[in-house]
């Protein structure tokens, strides 16, 4: 199995690399080159930081077109992590209004619940259903590490999508699974055994 971690200059790729190596992925590439991305079996889109800056970097590297071909045309499995989950939606209100990769009909907004501290930092429990491919063999309550101020909302018109939620002031989206696309708001690579199992599930079930 060949996995490519998309490198667009944002976020700690080291821990993801370490986790993939730990679960036994044979070949891990870190790249933004079309030739390497097209040869990989699976794609990981990581990311920490600002949505705007991330989209700028992605466009400057031509990654928006490369990823669109791989994900939307070739239907290659992709896992978005944290900002990576947000980047695959239509748009975000971070720094005004910015367009995303538009792989999934959703949008990104800042937490607007009452009486919560922002960013949402730490381990929190995710509620999922048994049709989920990402959480296979995991048992609730299942702790994952979150660190974010913005959250994704999926358009209610989207069907055949599997969603999981987390409670922070109110329910918000912890992950989505749609055809070849999977995305998590938390960091599996920083979530001990639960995270390693989830990464393994992505490798096996997508």
């Amino acid at each position: 199995m060949k996995v490519v971690i998309i490198d667009y200059g944002m976020g700690n790729i080291q821990s993801i690399q370490g986790a993939l190596k730990y679960i036994g992925v044979d070949e891990i590439l870190v790249s933004n080159q079309e030739s390497k991305i097209s040869k990989a079996d699976k794609i990981i889109l990581p990311g920490v930081g600002s949505f705007t800056k991330a989209m700028q970097n992605i466009k400057n590297l031509g990654l928006d077109k490369i990823l669109k071909t791989e994900v939307m045309v070739n239907k290659k499995p992709i896992l978005g992590i944290c900002l990576g989950m947000q980047l695959m939606t239509k748009n975000s209100t971070e720094d005004g209004f910015n367009l995303g990769l538009n792989f999934i009909d959703g949008s990104v907004d800042k937490f607007n619940f009452n009486n919560i501290k922002i960013p949402h930092v730490g381990f929190n429990q995710v509620s999922f259903n048994n049709q989920s491919k990402l959480y296979k063999d995991l048992v609730e309550p299942c702790d994952f590490y979150f660190t974010h101020s913005y959250k994704v909302d999926i358009n209610s018109d989207v069907t055949n999508i599997n969603l999981s939620t987390c409670d922070y002031g109110d329910n918000f989206l912890a992950s989505y699974e749609f055809e070849n696309i999977a995305a998590v708001q938390f960091h599996p690579e920083l979530s001990q055994t639960n995270g390693l199992q989830l990464l393994n599930n992505f490798m096996k079930n997508f």
Binding site: Q14, V48, P119, L190, Q192
Partner: protein, 256 residues
């Protein structure tokens, strides 16, 4: 429901990990010693987060620190924050590239707020922990920077508000009086300041046993408790402390 966190802080100085007492450092061992006595990939199951601070008082060799960080976090799958001596964007990048998921800023919060703003813009608020060292003098909490050597002419709660306005993600409040004593946290610290704080607060300084961790976790406005006490939590000390806290129904992570 969001869990409260238990954080272990490692104090690094020129190739060695240290026990700190009121900010005076005592060398304990190098990375080999640490691996032998603390096996972080195992002990990580009792921890929610690791913070590694370069507390070298003279020349902070960032490259050597970064190398040690990389070795330390190998096969550790919890969040790792690192800092101490970050003065430039390059310093921050080096630590992120060496395995840090977040960075810890202290002196630059006072001396170079532009750098802090740039780092927030580049890496996002959630990647930045603001570390604030304070000491109680004549019943007033005073702020210190530069490894606790320089006293600032500003009250702690006012300083906290200033730091929050820089849009950092978390605050790490470290009591210099309590540091390394094992006498327990400064439990009054959140009174008078907590109302202003809408970001997570980590308290540090003084924890010597699981009862102290419990006292800290009980404070509603505290998001996480940290300990840097290498001696009191050596071997399976942390594992045992965590077990007791879970048995006492504290809202902390449980790993299977």
């Amino acid at each position: 429901m969001l869990r409260k966190r238990i954080i272990f802080t490692l104090i690094y100085d020129s190739g060695f990990f240290n026990q700190s007492r009121n900010f005076r450092l005592q060398k304990v061992g190098n990375i080999k010693w640490l691996e032998k006595n603390y096996k972080f990939n195992e002990i990580a199951f009792s921890l929610d987060e690791l913070i590694v601070l370069n507390a070298s008082k003279e020349n902070k060799n960032m490259l050597e620190f970064a190398n040690n960080l990389t070795k330390l976090v190998h096969n550790v799958f919890i969040p790792v924050a690192a800092g101490g001596g970050i003065r430039t964007l390059e310093d921050a990048k080096l630590l992120f590239d060496s395995g840090a998921d977040k960075i810890v800023l202290n002196t630059v919060l006072f001396t170079n707020t532009n750098l802090v703003k740039d780092l927030v813009k580049l890496y996002g608020s959630q990647s930045i922990i603001a570390s604030i060292d304070y000491k109680k003098i004549n019943d007033k909490n005073r702020v210190f920077v530069k490894n606790g050597t320089d006293e600032l002419d500003i009250d702690l709660s006012e300083y906290i508000n200033k730091v929050i306005s820089l849009e950092i993600g978390e605050i790490y409040l470290n009591s210099i009086n309590r540091d390394g004593t094992g006498f327990g946290y400064d439990l009054d610290i959140m009174e008078g300041i907590s109302k202003n704080i809408n970001i997570p607060v980590i308290i540090a300084g003084g924890a010597g046993n699981e009862e102290h961790l419990a006292q800290g976790l009980k404070i509603e406005t505290v998001s996480a408790v940290a300990t840097a006490n290498l001696f009191n939590f050596i071997g399976d000390g942390l594992t045992k402390a965590k077990k007791i806290l879970i048995q006492s129904n504290f809202n902390v992570t449980q790993w299977r």
